[in-house]
Every structure is written in C-alpha cells, then in structure tokens.
Amino acid sequence: MDLGYTYSQAVAEASRCLLCHEPPCSAGCPANTNPGKFIRQLRMRNLKGAIATMYCNNILAASCGVLCPTCTLCASGCTAQGLDRPIDIGGLQRFLAEHSWEIGFRPIQAAAPNGQKVAIVGSGPAGLMCAAELAQRGFSVTLFERLEKPGGVLRHLLPEHRLSAVFFDREVKMLADLGVEFKCNQTIDGRAGLDELLAQGYGAVYLATGAWEAVRLDLPGADAGGIQGAMGFLARSKREPQVVKAEVKDKQVAVIGGGDTAMDVAVTAQRFGARDVYVLYRRSYAQMPGNPEEKLEVMQEGIHFVMLTQPLGYTSENGRVNGVKVLRTRLGDPDFGGRRRPEAIPGTEHVLPADVVVEAVGLKPGKGLKGFDGLKVDASGRVVVSEAGETDIANVFAGGDAVRGAALISHAIGDGARAGRAIADALLGGE
C-alpha cells in the first residue's frame, strides 16, 4: 500500500472542494457515507466532527477510502469536474481515518446493553457493519467466522499491496472497542447450525457469508495441474505466499477474465516474480468491468493485456498445463447488458504458452451457504431477501455478496447497516 495524505496534503485537497449545496457525492455512496459533510468539516478544521460523520455510517471508512472505485460512485457526480478533476474523496476519507487512529479518537460508542443477543455469520464488510450498527444500539453481538481471522475478502483474499493487514487491523479494532465478540474458526454449518444459534437465545441471525465460489470455465483439459480458480489462488497467496511464489517464479502466468479479481490475481503473480503475466479477455479493454483507475495501474505494472481472445481449452504435458488454446474474437452487437458481444473469428485458433493458469471469471455465493435448507435462493445461488434484508426463515436476515453475488464493499456496508436497523426494529419493536 502506498502512503496516504499528510495533514497538509489533505487540507489542500479538501480546500479544492466546492462545498456544494445538495452535494452529489453524498448521494452517490451505496453505504450512505456523507463526503459532502465530512469534507466541509475537515475544511473548517473540525477534524473530529469529520471523523464522526464518516464512521457513523461506515465502520470500514478507511478501507473504503482505499478500495472503493470512487470514480464510479461518490466522485462520479463531483461538481469540481466542471473546473478540472474530482475531489479525491477516497484519499480524504483515508486521511481522516488514519488521523483518528493517530490521535486515539473513538468516534462511535456502544450503547448501554439492552439485554438482547444477535449472531452474525461471516465477518466481511456486511457482517462487520451490521455488528457495529447493533452494538451502537445496545445489542450484544457475536460474529461467527469460518476462517482464523475476521474480515472476509478484505482479510483473506485482497493482496497485501491493495490493503495491508496492519492497516486493516487498526480499523477492525474499532469493532472490538464496541464490545463485539469475535468467534473465529467457527463455521455455522448449514440449517442445523443456524437453528442451534436461534435455540441458544440469539434473537436474530444475520447471514453475511459472501460469494466465495469461483465460477469455473469447464474447458477441455482443465484437469491438468497448474490450473486453478481465482479464489483459491488469492487465498493461498495470502495464507502461504512462499508456496505460491515458488509456483509462479519465472513462469508464464495466464489469467482468464477482465474484472477486479483478475486484476488482483495478475498483479499478485507479477509481484511474486512471474516472468510474464497475460490477462486473457474475450472482449476489449473498454468492456472490461472493474475499476477504470485500477485497470490503468495494472497495465502500467507491465501486465500484458491480451484482448479479444477467447480461451477454448488447455494443453498439457506430463499432467501439467503448458498452454491455453485460444481464438481471436471481434466485437459484435451489444448483448442484453449493453456490452458488445465477442464473436469468434474462425481459423484463428492458436496456443498461448502458460505454466500457471488462473480462471477469474466470476464468483457466486455457493459454498458458504451449503446445507442451509429452507433458505430461498435464486438461480445463481443468491439468497432472496426482502428490502429490509429478511430471508424466508423467521428472524434470519442476509446481505452483502451472499445476496448480491460479487458486488462492492460499499454495497455490503449499506446492506449491513440496513439489516442492523431492521433487526433492531424487529427485536425491540415487540416490546
């Protein structure tokens, strides 16, 4: 992670803000963060007020400051673009958070206990935000996490260069300060596990299990060694970086896909010492989903973007992959999503040599929800919920990627907050 703003840089950037009436930035955040207000507060040297404004809606304000694709969210409507460039809202948000850690300021507090318990399954952004919302309303909250540490994607998948563990620890500490209890290495195992929680006196359960199952391409030859899904690759890169480094060092790595996950895989492989990293994508650069700023940075890292290229299968030798069979495409008419559809160009088949292949073509809730009988899910395995986040099972709520499929941190934060309020209303309303 590069360094954030110093105080004077932050003040200089904040003084570019036009202090808009009805600030568009504040209307652009799925997590309801209020930049229009916190930037004004920073500008008026009310730093603590700014920090409080930021954290009251978003318990991961610092991480969001670093990771949000602001150019498509808050900053997309920034009126400063009418003069030159948008305000670096993410940078200011990160500065305020780091400043609060530096001065030891605690912007939010737990309320006096109301005697009720809530269980949260999964400690990604959605679960953490729901926990913060409930703790501030006096609930005793327990977070159950399958893995050894809390944080979901941010802890276990995002490469260190995107979000450092030390940085993230400081932010998650705020939840411990709110009295939230973390139970890690505890999988809530299907419907039985859920019912057990309800039987233990938890008034409600929030399912925030994320979308951790990598979609696989199912191409011929995929059983060769060295071919893997993105989630496994990223998780192993964080858990056992030395092993993955040894696997990719001086190798040709092919990453299939064009989204944020593909970008993270590609940069990780490159930084781990791969000789060449190819991103194979069947449409072109403009159609690649994901954060436009990040795409540029990744290209500048020296990753090869091989566009208009459709994988057909794998070649191998002695059971290990040694190439991706590909075909050139051209762009046809837009599909139902509005992006131009790739069309195969016959006769262009060829093999791109590769020693390691990572398929990064999509994520779905799958795994985390295995065995939750009675939970209504849609065709892609996403939990179906009401506006307030209620599932079909009484007192069970859900949100984040488990409901949306692969989305953004800010969406998960917004969901967590909404569910926290809905749970509080449901549990306190009856009294």
Binding site: S8, Q41, M44, N46, K48, G49
Partner: protein, 415 residues
C-alpha cells in the same frame, strides 16, 4: 451527537444557548433568515442595524467586492452597505416574530439614530418589540448620511452622549459597537462606559480600499464609476479584531463584557476570540462565504476543544490568553534561538535560501548538488521567515528552537 458540552454563556445577565451570533449585516437582515440561522445552530443575533426611517436609506449598487489572494477566495470582503433600508415597522415585526418562535435565542437589536431623539425612540421601540439587548452602531465606516456611524464612534463625546440617552430610556442591557478605525479603541470604549453602556461589541469593519481596476482605475466595488473608503472584513481582519478585543479586555478601567468579532470562520478563530476575553461572538463574512451551516462546525469544534482541555463551561476559558499578552518591553531579550531544520523532510525548493539571502541573516548557503540549504547557526537571526515560505508544513519542517546562552546576531559591515 458531537456537541457534548454545555456551550451556554451569560452576558449582561442575558443567557445565550451558545456564544455564536450573527452580526448585524445582510446575514441578519430579516426574521425569516435569522430563524433559519437559529435552526442551524446560532445562539443569537445582532439584527441588521435599524434606523428610524425618516431619512430614506438606499444601498449603493453593487455593495460588495471580494478580495482574493492567490487561489483563495474571499480572504477579505469590502462593502459599502448602509444600515437597514426596510421600514422600521417591518424590522420591529421581525424582532417580535423571532422572540415568539425562538424564545430561548437572544435577539440583540442593533440601532442607529441620526439625532439624540432618534436614538431614544429606536431604543424604546426595539425594547417594546421584545429585543433582549440593544447594540448601538457607532461604527459603520461608510454611511452616506453625514455625521453618522463611524463618525460618532470617532467623536468620543458623542459615544458617551448617545449611550447615556439610550441607557436612560430602556431597562434592557446596552452594548456599544466600536470601530477599529481609531488610534486607541479603549478610549471610545471608556466613553461608552461613562455613558452607561453595559457591554462592548467589536470590531466593526476596518476602513479599507481593496483594489483598483487596471483598465479604468476605478476602485472596487465600482459604484457607478467610483469607489470609496469603506468597510473591510473577513479573515484578513482577524488579527486587528483580536487585538482590539484583547486591548479592551485588558484595560483596567473598562471591565465590560465583550462581544468579539472580525474574521471568525472556524472553531479555532472562535476559541481565539474567547481566549482574549470575548464572552459572545459574532459573524458576518464567514456566513457570506459559507452560509449558516458553518456554525455547526464551530459548535462541534468548541465542544471537542473543551473535552480535550477538560473545560465544562465556556466561561472557564474566557480571557485565558490575556495574561500572556504583554507589551514588548516585557520580553526577556536574553532568550535567543535559531531556526531548526528537519532536513530529512526537505523537498529541495530552495525558497528558504532565497528569502534568507534577501530578507534574513544570510545564514543559509545552497548546495546545488544535493539541492539542500546548509545552515551556519551562528549567523541565524531566528527571524523565521524561512519557515513562513517553507511548503513542508503540518508538522512544519522548520521550527524555532531556543538556544540558551546564544548571543544575539548582527550582520558584519560589508566593507
């Protein structure tokens, strides 16, 4: 919510929910506007100066000009606005409206008479309308009506006379609003006290001339081809306002509570004015720049400041800086020092070297290879101008360091 402290204050026996008030100006021009300011968080208002109406008031057009510095807008504000042009009756109705709907908030009626009788009649009318206090405008520097405003404030006997007239007519507390455009602001302040004033308000605008147009040589604001010496306000005048308030607060024979103003924008400005002896505060230019919403950050900031310092009431720190404000003959000249450089953070612009050569003690030489200044501490005047131009701030890269026993430094003769 963020304001956790009790910010209420008392001035001349009147309780303010918080010390931040609108000052008398366009920001306090109508009841509807002031009501919104109260809802936004202001604790009181000095309503736009009310006149009797016998002499018709017409505002020059345009009535203001902004003063920018570099890319900073509105560092200062120049205005030629007159007192209220509204009928007396409308202003009195607005005072009633405010006291009816916001009884806890303080309404100070600012008045200006053009004769002794007018002062009396206005004072009584405003008291009858429900004003909590009066503020006597002895200080508008650009009245088109001859012999009024600042002209009164500069004629100390008139300050005393009109103060006495008003005091004899009403029972509510009376503040005298002072002009900084005098040699020593405590003199007219003493006259106001002699006349019976219960408190002081300062500063009104500083007489200024903001600039001259390069094409037609007309000063701004350009009022039909002419400009005038007129009222300058905003952040640029804060040092003058702080000085005036401190001088009045320190004067041994005055002892009157002060409503301080001049360039307040942030909670830091507000706290500074309180530390030099203001009991309440007033704002115009800041609102002209940011709108009423600015008050929220001032109140929050003061509350956080009080938490940090363990103050429970604003009165705990009013005037706390005054013992540290002295005349220069009290300085200990035996204590000398140097400018200390944290060169690890230097980015190599060399501005320090330029100004040290041309305006300082020539103690810095410049290493072109490393692009860093090299200091000869024995020649440093500790004038600190290098730190003023150094772009590496917060925390500053160049700081003053006292050096015990260091002799004072003088440049040698050139030949």
């Amino acid at each position: 919510m963020p304001v956790t402290k009790d910010l209420s204050v008392e001035m001349c026996g009147v309780r303010f929910p918080n010390p931040i008030c609108l000052s008398s100006s366009p920001v306090s021009n109508t009841g509807e506007m002031v009501g919104r300011a109260f809802d936004a968080g202001f604790g009181g208002v000095a309503f736009k100066t009310i006149g009797k109406g016998d002499i018709k008031i017409i505002h020059p057009a345009p009535r203001m000009a902004g003063y920018d510095y570099g890319n900073k807008k509105l560092v200062g504000l120049q205005n030629v606005e007159q007192i209220s042009d509204r009928p007396l009756d409308h202003n009195l109705r607005d005072i009633r409206y405010l006291k009816k709907n916001w009884p806890e908030h303080v309404v100070i009626a600012s008045i200006m008479g053009f004769s002794n009788d007018e002062w009396r009649e206005l004072a009584i009318a405003c008291q009858d309308a429900g004003a909590d206090m009066l503020e006597l405008n002895f200080s508008c520097p650009h009245m088109t009506v001859e012999g009024s405003g600042m002209k009164v404030g500069q004629a100390f006997d008139l300050v005393e006379k009109f103060s006495a007239t008003v005091k004899a007519a009403v029972t509510i507390p009376v503040l005298a609003k002072m002009t900084p455009n005098v040699t020593d602001i405590t003199e007219p302040a003493l006259s106001a006290k002699m006349g019976g004033a219960d408190g002081l308000a300062a500063i009104n605008t500083v007489l200024g001339l903001t600039g001259v147009d390069m094409k037609n040589f007309i000063p701004s604001p350009n009022v039909g081809g002419m400009g005038a010496y007129s009222g300058y306000s905003g952040p640029a005048v804060k040092p003058i306002g702080l000085r005036c308030v401190a001088q009045m607060a320190q004067h041994p024979d005055l002892g009157l509570p002060i409503s301080g103003m001049g360039g307040i924008e942030t909670w830091i400005d507000a706290v500074e004015y309180l530390l030099v002896g203001s009991t309440t505060l007033q704002i115009t230019s800041g609102v002209i720049h940011y709108g009423y919403r600015m008050v929220e950050d001032i109140l929050e900031g003061i509350s956080y400041f009080m938490e940090d310092h363990g103050f429970d009431h604003i009165s705990d720190f009013v005037g706390k800086a005054l013992p540290n404000v002295v005349s220069t003959d009290h300085f200990d000249l035996g204590r000398q020092g140097i400018a200390q450089y944290d060169l690890d953070r230097c980015i190599g612009c060399g501005q320090c070297h330029v100004v040290c050569q041309d305006a300082g003690g020539q103690c810095l030489t410049w290493n072109s290879a490393t692009r860093r200044p090299v200091m000869d501490e024995s020649r440093c005047l500790a004038c600190m101008i290098c730190s003023f131009v150094c772009p590496v701030s917060k925390p500053p890269m160049i700081t003053y360091k006292e050096v015990p026993g260091k002799p004072e430094v003088m440049p040698p003769p050139s030949l």
